[in-house]
Each structure stands twice: as C-alpha cells, then as structure tokens.
Symmetry: C2
Subunit: 287 residues, 2 copies
C-alpha cells in the first residue's frame, strides 16, 4: 500500500500539471504521472536501480541516429508499438489487419510497372506475388498505391546497405481496374532487429532473441481512406510464434506454395523451383 507521504508526492505532481492549457496534454501528463509513480511503487527501485534506468534511457537516446531509431526499437520490443497500432485500428470486421510500419519504409520508393521484378538480380528463391485490393464488399479498388518492401536474402533492407545507389526489393505499384497487381521478388527470410545497442542488451538479459519471422511489408493507400499498413508472413518461417516485435497476427500468415521449374502464370520461364503468394487485401472503410 502506498504510504500517505508518498501518495502526497504523486498528488503534488498531478496538481502541478493542473494549469496545462491543452486539455489533451493535461490528460497525458496526468496519466503519465499516475502510471509512472504506480510503477515506482510496484517495484520500489533502489537508488542504483533508478540510476541504471536513467543510464539505459540515456543510451537509448544517444544510440539513435538518422538511420537508427533505438527508442522505436524499444517501443517495438516492449509491444508498445503493436498496442498503439491495435488501438488505432479497431476496424470493422473483415478489414485486413494492420501491423507495425517498421523503420525501413521509404516515402520515395520508385513507381514501377505491373509485373516488374523488384529483386534486380538479388540472390534468393524466386517469388511471384499477386495481390488483389478490394473493399469490404469485395469490390475491386483500382488505382490504389501499393508500396511493397522487404529484406534481402541476408536479412538487410536496401536502406541498410552502405553506398546504396538504387532501391532494391522495394517498389510502388498501382492496382489495375480489377484491383490486382503482380510482381516478382525473392522469398524473404527471417532477420534479427539491430541488437548491438541497449535494446539488444535488454533482450540478452531477459533471454529473448532478436529475430523477426520472414515477411513482406505492404502499405496500401487510396485517396479517401486511412492507409493500410501491414505485413504478410511466410507460413513456414521460423519465429512466427516469437517475433521480437510482436507483429504477427494469424490472419496475416500466408501460404507461399512451391512450384517446380517451368512456366509461371505470367509466362516467365523458370529454370529452378519458385514460390508464389496470392493475397486479397480488404481496405478500411472510407474516411
């Protein structure tokens, strides 16, 4: 039980925020105070534990750079990012579920034609993807902007590569009148989140691994709806039940069937086995 003199500290902080003019900010700082003080009461940190927390958070901030955001990684690995995502996507039944955007989305991905191979010679198992964009009634949605991005066979995104000159395994496609879009790529593989910083140390200390199961990212935008941001996961991937960032949802796990060498649906001749993915996205309601 909280002692009266300690409860008085909490109440004093809340009272001090009483003049906050923005009502939303006032709610946030009030709840933050209540929650943070409740946490401190629950664990009763020693001075040294408090100082260790100060140092950890400082290091998380200082590890963050233009191309590395360690606080987002911390939010991801504590399940906060997925929780914020869930709260902001309490969608109608039937809408494709969303998941985290992740740190590797690029606003200016190249617009490429239907049927393109986005792998540009990258090593890996060929993958043929056909997606359908539809509304909740199943009506095809034409002209949807479909961003797709994924890691290479070594688990890196193009933007993580030093000296990158062109994008790879990343494209912006547009759905046709039938709501469809098709592209060639390679089968994604599992990869670890960056674990050479304080978040990595947290994972190690708690015996957690840093791996994410194999997935493709999608962001599907139309003029009159919130964008749908999600992944499609490979059903036979490792780590589906222990994604380091808690991003997996059952409805997003897809079959990626294998096919023998031969002619693909678009007429391409494959000299080795290939995989395919077909998926129908159901967009959120109009704004």
């Amino acid at each position: 039980m909280t002692r009266p003199d300690e409860e008085a500290i909490t109440q004093a902080v809340i009272a001090r925020f009483g003049q906050t003019p923005d009502p939303r900010l006032k709610t946030i700082v009030t709840e933050l105070t209540r929650s943070l003080h409740g946490f401190v009461q629950a664990v009763e940190p020693t001075f040294d534990e408090w100082l260790a927390a100060i140092r950890f958070l400082t290091e998380v901030g200082q590890m963050s750079t233009g191309s590395r955001q360690e606080f987002i990684l911390l939010s991801d690995t504590l399940g906060v990012s997925m929780l914020v995502d869930a709260i902001n996507h309490r969608q109608a039944e039937g809408v494709t579920e969303s998941t985290v955007l992740g740190p590797f989305f690029v606003e200016t991905a190249p617009s490429l034609p239907d049927g393109v191979d986005i792998a540009s010679g990258e090593a890996g198992e060929p993958l043929y993807v056909e997606v359908t964009i539809a509304d909740l009634d199943g009506r095809p949605v034409a002209d949807a902007e479909i961003d797709v991005w994924q890691s290479d066979a070594e688990g890196f995104y193009d933007v993580q590569r030093e000296g990158l000159e062109t994008h790879s395994l990343r494209a912006r496609l547009t759905s046709g009148p039938d709501g469809r879009a098709r592209f060639w790529s390679i089968l994604p593989t599992p990869y670890p989140i960056p674990d050479d910083g304080p978040v990595g140390r947290m994972l190690q200390a708690t015996r957690r691994h840093p791996w994410r199961p194999a997935h493709l990212h999608f962001k599907i935008s139309t003029p009159d709806r919130e964008p749908l941001i999600t992944h499609l996961f490979v059903r036979d991937s490792a780590y589906l039940d222990s994604d380091a960032v808690f991003g997996v949802k059952d409805t997003l796990i897809c079959d990626f069937p294998s096919h023998p060498a031969g002619v693909a649906p678009d007429g391409r001749m494959l000299d080795r086995p290939w995989r395919s993915l077909e998926h129908a996205f159901r967009l959120p309601l109009r704004k």
Copy 2:
C-alpha cells in the same frame, strides 16, 4: 475497458519475459510492461502522439552530456526522483528527512577546516552556519564527514562555470567531538533548473516554472550508516510551495535570521548585515 486482442498483446510481452534468469529483473520488466501498456490504454495515443513521445525521449537522451543529465531532470520534474528517495528512506521517526542529491554533487570536494569561509569572495549576503550532527538519542556524532554545496548569487554552482579552476561554495567539513561544524558562506538564492532543453519545453507547455527555492545541500557520511542526503531551505525564499523538482519537506525549511553589522559568534567583525543558520541533523540508525 481493454479489448481482448489488445490485452493479448500485453500478455504476450509478459510471457516473452518469462525466461528472464534474474528474478529482480523479471519483476521489473513484467511490471514495466503492465504499467506501460496500462498507460497506453489510458491515453490511447494516436500514431502522431506516439511519434512525438519517441522524439521527445530521444532528444532527452541526446541533450545529456558529461555535465548535463536531462533524464535525471525529467525524473526530477515528474516527481520520480523524490518518490524513489522517499521509498528508500522510510526511516525511524525523528531521523532528519532526506531529499534529492541533485546533479551538482562532487565526490572530491576540498576538505576544509572548521570555521572556513567557503564563499571565497563571492558576492552575496554573508551567512554563518552552525550544524550539529547527532544520533536519534541526541548524542553528538564526532568525525562525521559533512559535504556542503550551494549555488552562487546568480544561481549557478561552481561546476556549471566554464573554466573553473578551484571549487567555490563547496566543502567537506568534519564534525568535532561535540558533533558540531561551522562555516561561513553566502545566503543561497532561488535558481531555475536548466530549461533550454526538452524538459524545459515540457515545463513551458504545462505552464510550470523551472525555479527551485533557495537551499543549501548537505551530505553527511559516517562509517556505519547510510549517508544522509538532504537540503536546508530558506524559510523566506520564493518557490517553497512550487519547487520544480518537488524537493521541499516542511521539516527542512529553516529560519535564517538577519543580524545587524557587528561581531559574529566566532568573533568575525561584519561591516554589513548578515544571516545565520543553526540546524541539528539526526542521522539514520546504524546499518
């Protein structure tokens, strides 16, 4: 009420921490998850609010340097530092109350003789201090190490001054056989905590001022007790009821009576009015 699919995220994170070998760490990360997710449920942040929080915390980390610790400042201004202090000092009745150490303590302050003037010519109203160190039964404690430090008339500590060559307004004294120590200084004045960073912006946005009431810092160490870390506040100071870091306790507010020019108790002749402070510290129980 938390929705089942959102509660499932929280439970998944707690379960993922289930293999943490250190039981104390396991308690901390479990409670952190529960508390943090509870906060997110309470405020239901938008994606933009979540991103603003990420950016704020990142900036707090990046503002911290060897001589500036913005995360401690954040902890202080949210009352967390005082709460941690209170939890770790649930003392026997009669022990002098503690308060925050603050960022300006120096481990290697100069050891100076009884009666010394620690102001070394600093501008300000002269102040004569006599403290008694005693145990809970009122018996004097000899040979206690008494660190004292305070800000100058402009509100800065010596360590905040560029190009500082010697310490000023800072000393380590030793109590005599009667438990007493005396020194000259200047009357401390209120000062603002550093408010040119993200914590300062938080204070501005919530219409809080950054000021601390006038005080002297003390750290009193003996071989067989936890050190007593506290302040003595000037009773006629501004901001006693709104200390930016919530450090004030009623029992630590002291009279600093004014005296006309003339002879001080130690025989020093003052050509202008001066103030005095007498205080008896009661140390914690032996370990």
